[in-house]
Amino acid sequence: MHARADTAASWPEEIFSILQRFEVRQVPYVPDAGHSELIERVLGSSSMRGIALTTEEEGVALLAGAWAGGQRGVLLMQSSGVGNCINMLSLVQIFRLPFLTLVTMRGEWGEFNPWQVPMGSNTQGTLELAGIKVLRASRPDEVREVVEAGAAQAYNACTPTAVLLSQRLIGAKVFTK
């Protein structure tokens, strides 16, 4: 269960519309609570294909193949998954991919589980070291413009981009006995 921030509009729905507008076709994901609404929306969509992965780096390679075949994609993952991608992210530079990933954050803002903190603290730095531009959305009312800017620079300018969706936005995971 997540204690969600009070939102009037549904930001996952806004993300879905942006992905539709940019003609995204392949949506690899690793199941994740923060992305659950968006994943459901993608799986119910006729124009996008949700592709469940066993590990996040599969998604980087998948998007390279998708691009070679003429389709755009977006990788949905959690901050812990970014660490799994490091070597495969070399493909993003090597192929000059229009790479976009949306990363839900753990290990910050009210985290309960110390095991999430090391990777969560290093997510942005890891992505930047891999040559990925990092944008962040922390409030529901800024998700739309941040994701739109990220998609535009990734797909139009071939500038690999990660959008971090803050734990403050998603809500810290609540652990109860």
Partner: protein, 196 residues
Amino acid sequence: MSKANLLDRRAVVSELLRDRKGAFAIGGLGASTYDIAAAGDHDRNFYLWGGMGGAVMIGLGLALAQPTLPVVVITGDGEMLMGMGSLATVALQQPKNLSIIVLDNEAYGETGGQASHTGGAADLVGVAKACGIADSRAISTMAEVEAFASSLQDVTAGPRFASAKIDGANLERVLSSRDGTYIVNRIRGSIGHTPI
């Protein structure tokens, strides 16, 4: 080291690509990329010089994007072992036009021939089958290679997986382009996509 009754890797790959028609061919990091280059450069060759473990997933992304064209991933046992979960991902998507063949010499040829898990207990055909790729077969003759080569043209019956035990001899490297952007843009160009 050469052993009798094992297939020659270059003969296998050249047979797979001999009458490829519109097929895309994706090599794994290392010798399988040299084998694809040795069979002849082609606009739809996707050579990998890195990203170990990613060959099958690149094939899946391409196969889903171009469902009417055959896509064949030709990789080695070491590369396949690193991306074994991708077989489960492929099985979930059931891309009808994707074929995967592992050239299995039971060794890491690129790094000095250290033994791989397939020389011990690991059975990649069993793994692929258990992941849900129903058409998973072991290949040990050139006749079976020929049959696999013609089946990969059938884009309504995949995904399919094969593992061919090959001779472990180190062959001369045939070097392809290492410029990834060129390789990918050339593939995109071959299906009518202009550069951005």
